[in-house]
């Protein structure tokens, strides 16, 4: 399957492709964050006969429904399996004492018993980072633990 990308000057980007059954569909990504789901006319393949306008939230919901149902299922299963266990995403805020310092120095597990399972940086996921992993401002840290312990981790990352 080949997805075609076209720039729309002043508006944003369009991605489109043809399905195996011969239906052309596309997504117009507006700079404002709006997403249009576009379905092309079979008789006039250049014309968008249906345009579904979606705001950020709606587009995310649709993407999740189309692409990520299994991940959601697995996360839900995890939460059901272990009652009282939560996973939270904590940002390294500006001015955090651990920005620019290795993860080991925060001694998160020793102090709170919660675990850092991943760090998300600029769209990339670093799974199970080691103690040498250096935090940067704007990183998002994924922590698993009890509700209290994850709250303590948030406090540590913000104030030390």
């Amino acid at each position: 399957m080949e997805v075609e990308q076209t720039a729309l000057p002043g508006i944003g980007l369009r991605h489109d492709f043809t399905t195996r059954t011969g239906q052309r569909v596309g997504v117009v990504s507006h700079r404002t964050g709006r997403r249009d789901l576009v379905i092309y006319d079979k008789d006039d393949p250049d014309r968008a006969c249906q345009t579904v306008k979606l705001n950020d939230e709606e587009a995310d919901a649709l993407a999740e429904l189309l692409g990520a149902p299994r991940i959601v299922q697995r996360l839900n299963a995890l939460h059901e399996q272990v009652e009282g266990l939560v996973s939270v995403q904590l940002p390294i805020p500006e001015g955090s004492p651990y920005a620019g310092r290795p993860m080991g120095e925060a001694r998160v597990r020793t102090r709170t018993s919660a675990s850092i399972v991943a760090v998300v940086r600029g769209g990339r996921v670093f799974a199970s980072p080691g103690p040498d992993f250096v935090f940067g401002t704007g990183d998002v840290v994924v922590v698993v633990g009890s509700e209290d312990s994850t709250a303590e981790v948030a406090d540590i990352l913000a104030r030390g």
Binding site: P9, G10, D36, D43, D44, P45, D46, R47
Partner: protein
């Protein structure tokens, strides 16, 4: 009555009137620009309700309107897009330029208005209204269409051409001798190139300077910078409008989006004032005699824009129906054409030029979007049969 009181009364009445007209245009589904022009004609000398005190105030507002119009237009594009469009669509862009500048230029020459007026009229018939066209595309759900990138890149090409054309026109209008004129055009072109290069290479620095998380500070910095550069450009014989346009291009990304959102209401207000001011300068008694000519010119330029769209879309591998849509989308004329005519009239070009341009834009600003709406079902029917 106190002068300020009269000024407020007049200005308030004008704005309120425009608001009512805008609501009317929305209901009918046409662009409000023609209505604003008509309102201006009605308020002007020889009109139904001449304004006495606020004309000077409105004239300054109109100047601000042009600066803001071009600033926000520049904000829509980033320098990369302009360059890609310039290299990728040069051939279609040149066809657009030749086909659509010709009717205006030929018309002015036939009327014996002289070469300067011919250059001005060429601009009046050349530029598509990117504002109205963008609205047509989004209203009719054509943004996702496969011919739309072609239409948009033609618009970008036109805007870039305008950045070069406007300073050349303003120097010609200044009526300098051939040598001094050539020098002034040279300075204008060098200024434009320098600003474009600075925007391409050092856009980030300008952005870093302007950028602010506070919307008030951002607004002040952007408007301040635009006016400063506009004034500087005016001093260098490049029109103020071009200066503002270049400032807009230099700013891109999130900053440009934020600035656009902040500026939109301000631009809408002053742009409306600008159309009124242009109407004010146009004597209604002069419109009627040129109405037939304007209609003919409008008809010719509708055909030439249609051909331009068909040519450009065919080159991009678009089907027949899409080619027709591309042509129709390019028909509307509006703000730019009036900006050009306004410059020409302000500099004392042929007295009928303003009236002709006003009537011409009245027709195409109103008819362009309407044509697109009316023709849409026919195009679909043809596509179904083919």
């Amino acid at each position: 009555m106190h002068e300020t009181a009269i000024l407020f009364l007049e200005f308030g009445a004008v704005l309120l009137g425009l608001g009512v007209l805008g609501a009317l245009a929305l209901r009918v589904g046409i662009s409000p620009i023609p209505l604003y022009l008509i309102a201006g004609v009605a308020f002007g000398t020889g009109g139904v309700l001449p304004l006495a005190t606020s004309e000077e105030f409105i004239s300054v507002g109109a100047e601000l309107g042009v600066v803001l119009l071009l600033l926000t237009l520049g904000l829509e594009y980033n320098a990369d897009e302009l360059m890609t469009s310039l290299t990728g669509n040069a051939r279609a862009g040149i066809v657009d330029l030749v086909l659509n500048a010709a009717p205006g230029a030929i018309c002015a020459l036939l009327l014996g208005w002289g070469p300067v007026a011919a250059v001005a009229m060429a601009g009046v018939t050349y530029a598509t209204s990117s504002g109205i066209t963008a609205k047509v595309l989004s209203d009719l759900g054509w943004i996702g269409n496969r011919e739309t990138p072609t239409v948009l890149s033609l618009l970008v090409f036109e805007d870039l051409t305008m950045a070069i054309y406007l300073p050349v026109l303003t120097t010609m209008l200044a009526g300098l001798s051939l040598l001094n004129g050539a020098i002034a055009v040279g300075i204008a072109l060098i200024t434009v190139s320098v600003v474009l290069i600075v925007a391409l290479k050092f856009g980030r620095l300008i952005e870093a300077f302007v950028s602010s998380p506070n919307s008030e500070v951002l607004l002040l910095k952007v408007v301040g910078l635009a006016l400063l550069v506009a004034g500087l450009a005016q001093q260098l014989q490049v029109s103020a409008a071009v200066g503002a346009f270049l400032v807009g291009i230099a700013l891109s990304g999130e900053l440009a989006e934020d600035a656009q959102a902040l500026l939109a209401p301000l631009r809408d207000l002053f742009a409306a004032v600008f159309f009124v001011f242009f109407g004010l300068q146009t004597d209604p008694a002069k419109i009627l005699p040129v109405a037939g000519l304007a209609a003919l010119l409008a008809l010719v330029s509708m055909v030439t824009k249609l051909l331009t769209g068909i040519y450009a879309a065919r080159r991009a591998g678009i089907g027949k129906a899409g080619q027709a849509r591309a042509g129709i989308a390019l028909i509307p004329r509006g703000e730019f054409n009036i900006v050009i005519a306004g410059l020409a009239v302000g500099a004392g070009a042929h007295p009928d030029l303003g009236a002709l341009a006003a009537a011409y834009v009245l027709i195409l600003a109103a008819f362009g979007p309407l044509a697109a709406k009316l023709v849409q079902p026919f195009i679909t029917a043809i596509a179904k049969r083919a």
